[in-house]
């Protein structure tokens, strides 16, 4: 019989063939595809490594200490994410809010740092079309930054839900899935940072 009810949050979990949660399986499958995505971009970067004809070259333009700081921020954001998940899993919504905000904040530090870094590179003559290095570098790091930005939006959305009292221990899977995505994006950065910045040509 139809009845008017407030929008009900869907937490019911149907039994599944594997016993795993279906949305989590979806996220893992998506991350597998994202591995191929970043793998192709990193592969492109590696194919063209050392072949740029036009200055500035990587070694001339990279400021490793600077980028290390923003990389560290992103790394710490994964820690914050873990703490956010731990909080909601024990029903600590206040803790969830704090750590979600921290994660997003550190992510913003990372993205902000990248934007500043890219603007500086631009002033030094490196942009999308200036050279093969410019193309491969900006497309690779740019798409990574876009992934981070989408993650930040996701985290802030969860924060808003929490702030409005709509998050509960029963919904910890939502945070866990966001966490899977966030950690993936962080791991990809570790690889990019190593391959692009740290390993000299």
């Amino acid at each position: 019989m139809a009845q008017a009810v407030a929008p009900r949050v869907h937490v019911e979990e149907h039994p599944t063939s594997t016993g795993l949660n279906t949305r989590k399986v979806l996220m893992w499958a998506f991350l597998a595809s994202d591995c191929m995505f970043f793998g192709s971009l990193i592969g492109t970067y590696l194919v063209y490594r050392g072949r740029t004809l036009i200055s500035p070259t990587p070694i001339e333009i990279f400021d490793i200490p600077y980028t290390s700081v923003s990389a560290f921020a992103l790394l710490m954001s994964s820690l914050a994410m873990v703490l956010a998940l731990a909080a909601i899993q024990r029903g600590d919504i206040r803790g969830l809010k704090i750590w979600l905000l921290t994660t997003a904040g550190l992510g913003l530090v990372f993205v902000g740092g990248q934007i500043y870094e890219f603007t500086t590179f631009g002033h030094e003559g490196l942009n999308l079309s200036s050279s093969i290095f410019g193309s491969t570098f900006f497309v690779l790091t740019g798409f990574h930054g876009a992934h981070v930005s989408l993650g930040i939006a996701w985290l802030l959305s969860l924060f808003v839900l929490a702030w409005r009292g709509q998050m509960s221990q029963a919904r910890s899977l939502d945070v866990e899935i966001a966490g899977l995505y966030w950690h993936f994006v962080d791991i990809v950065w570790i690889i990019i940072f190593t391959v692009v910045y740290l390993i000299p040509i």
Binding site: H10, S17, T18, A29, A32, S33, S40, S131
Partner: protein, 633 residues
């Protein structure tokens, strides 16, 4: 008593979900996999006609040497669009039609894991198909080949917008494929009926699982290739810009790392269909089921190791060339295993040569030929005489038409009765088959000869002294026979939908669960979710005297829990193994809205850049609406 609950969600407010069960709006907001399957299938068939006409125009131009019927610009656009259409707008969505309609039924589920994502994938597919064809209205049609090799596609050498329509259209189609691939992968892993282990799944479901994995892993690579090409064209990047030391071969690598798994994405579903049809029409189980599974899995795995056999003439060097020779020859082994197992299923059986069986066996015969010509190309020295000639055109059509299309038509004849409740007319079906079989061989058989005689592909004309006129004439006649065959099918389909014989639930003593439902099934598929205890559980349950291979011995052991061979699959039969009401996902606006957002964004890139943020905004709003709308129980 099992009841279907009406949606218990508000019907007001922006997040209220639509409720109409009939009418255009119900189709636009549907999340029912069966309806989505019908949408995919009908759209794909329309594009089959479009692609077919493109082919007929090309064949007519080539009917004689030095013909001036179709000029080079138009011809180049025709082969570009024919290939692109047949691959992305016909074979893939036709396969998706079957994934949608049949797989949930085969695994004993009511729908897929993510019904709205499912609807989204259809609308985005439609958006991509339209975006790709918008250039027709502006006279700038893609004309650089469906493979779009760099650096012909760079702004310097393809200044017109044709390439852009292809790039944006294909990128959008990729999103649709990814969504569908992820959905079916998760569905099959997660939503199988109790007792249905992986090795008890119908082979068509197995094939859907493997194809979905291939889609999920291969499409990101073409996504990157397309991004790089798009950026070269729009933002002046240098990925394939030769003067800036961009390497055109990189495009080929990225493209083929995607496109070789893609050809398996194109053939595996048809192989799955054949694996369903042959046992039913031979009244015997599929021979060597476990080996068929291993074969499908190995083919999928190996498909990622062979890509550079499309690049044997690019100067890879002998070591790389030898590696890809080995991997390419290796992939022939599991393929052969499948062919032998199909034939062995017929052998010792009781074969009924109705149209589904004709198409399935036609597949086996034609695919064998395509496979053999493939082995010839696998030897690089030989390939240096065959690559880019009509020998390759012959090979690819034997596997993609003689293979995929024959298999898919088999699926149509096999499953349309389940979808519509009516049997396709058998006499017309046989006529369709024979016309198609003869027309197909007449069209593509002689193309082997043309290849051996040195005729390159993608040429809009040729000179009389080359000696290619006769076989081109034969080939064109064959193409027209194919056109007639298609007309016969259309007539059959229309006739059937109007006044075809009733099919009943299980017209051919099927083996798999979809045949235990009504034709068409109720919108909830199963009144009660069945529990299975063997492979081919439905058939084993019907024919207990014939035993099941993997059914545990013991009195009272049943292949299928008794409650689940209802005659109608209706609620209220008195057998409730459910926990209560059947709840189905509600329809939703947001998949359509999100698809529209993507369409607008794509149009923005192509026509009017301010539309891009508008489209993205619509997409973002849709994503939020989708996430926040009330989910029924």
């Amino acid at each position: 008593m099992a009841t279907v609950t009406a949606p218990s969600v508000p019907r007001h407010g922006i997040l209220a979900r639509p409720v109409a069960p009939t009418g255009v709006w119900s189709w636009l907001t549907t999340v029912d996999a069966k309806r989505i399957g019908i949408l995919y299938g009908s759209t794909a068939f329309v594009f089959f006609l479009v692609g077919g006409i493109e082919a007929l125009l090309m064949r007519t131009q080539l009917i004689q040497p030095s013909s001036t019927l179709v000029g080079p610009g138009a011809f180049n656009a025709l082969f570009t669009m024919h290939g692109t259409t047949m691959i992305f707008l016909v074979v893939m969505p036709l396969s998706a039609a079957f994934f949608n309609y049949i797989v949930p039924l085969q695994i004993g589920a009511r729908d897929v894991a993510f019904p709205r994502l499912n609807a989204f994938s259809y609308w985005v597919f439609l958006a991509g198909a339209i975006l790709m064809h918008l250039g027709f209205f502006l006279g700038t049609v893609p004309d650089m080949g469906w493979f779009a090799y760099a650096n012909l596609t760079s702004p310097a050498f393809s200044p017109s917008r044709g390439v852009d329509f292809w790039v944006v259209g294909l990128q959008v189609l990729g999103v649709a494929s990814m969504a569908a691939g992820l959905n079916f992968l998760v569905t099959i892993i997660q939503l199988r009926a109790p007792g249905m282990s992986l090795m008890r799944m119908p082979l068509f479901t197995w094939v859907t699982l493997v194809t979905s994995i291939l889609i999920v892993l291969a499409f990101p690579v073409i996504t990157v290739a397309l991004i790089e090409l798009m950026f070269d064209r729009l933002f002046g990047t240098n990925f394939f810009n030769a003067p800036a030391s961009g390497n055109p071969i990189l495009w080929q690598h990225l493209f083929w790392v995607f496109a070789h798994p893609e050809v398996y994405i194109l053939i595996l579903p048809a192989m799955g269909i054949v694996s369903e049809i042959v046992p039913v029409f031979s009244r015997k189980p599929l021979f060597g089921y476990p080996f068929m599974v291993y074969a499908v899995v190995s083919i999928a795995f190996l498909s990622f190791t062979v890509w550079a056999h499309h690049m044997f003439t690019t100067g890879l060097g002998p070591i790389a060339t030898s590696f890809f020779t080995a991997s390419t020859m290796l992939i022939a082994v599991p393929t052969g295993v499948k062919i032998f197992n199909w034939i062995s299923t017929v052998h010792g059986g009781s074969l009924s040569l109705k149209p589904p069986a004709l198409f399935a066996l036609g597949f086996v015969a034609m695919f064998t030929i395509g496979g053999l010509s493939g082995v010839m190309h696998a030897a690089p020295p030989v390939d240096t005489q065959q690559q880019d000639t009509y020998f390759i055109v012959a090979h690819l059509h034997y596997v993609l038409f003689g293979g995929s299309i024959f298999g898919l038509f088999g699926g149509i004849y096999y499953w349309l009765p389940k979808v519509t409740g009516r049997l396709l007319h058998e006499g017309l079906g046989k006529l369709h088959f024979w016309l198609m079989f003869i027309g197909f061989n007449l069209t593509f058989g002689p193309q082997h000869f043309l290849g051996v005689d040195g005729m390159p592909r993608r040429v809009f004309t040729y000179s009389p002294e080359m000696g290619w006129g006769f076989w081109n004439l034969v080939s064109t006649i064959g193409a027209y026979v194919l056109g007639v065959a298609t007309l016969v099918f259309i007539i059959n389909a229309i006739k059937t939908l109007r006044s075809g014989d009733r099919a009943g639930d299980d017209p051919r003593d099927g083996r798999t669960l979809e045949w235990s439902t009504s034709s068409p099934p109720a919108h909830y598929n199963f009144a009660t979710i069945p529990t299975v205890h063997s492979r081919d559980a439905f058939w084993v349950q019907k024919h207990p005297d014939f035993g099941a291979h993997d059914l545990p011995a013991g009195a009272g052991a049943t292949a299928l829990s008794a409650a689940d061979i209802p005659t109608h699959g209706n609620p209220g039969d008195g057998h409730e193994h459910d926990h209560g009401a059947i709840h189905l996902p509600d329809p939703s606006y947001w998949p359509l809205a999100a698809g529209l957002g993507i369409f607008v964004a794509g149009s923005g890139i192509l026509f009017f850049l301010p539309l891009l943020p508008v489209g993205l905004f619509v997409l973002v709003v849709s994503v939020y609406g989708w996430s926040l709308e009330p989910v029924n129980g």
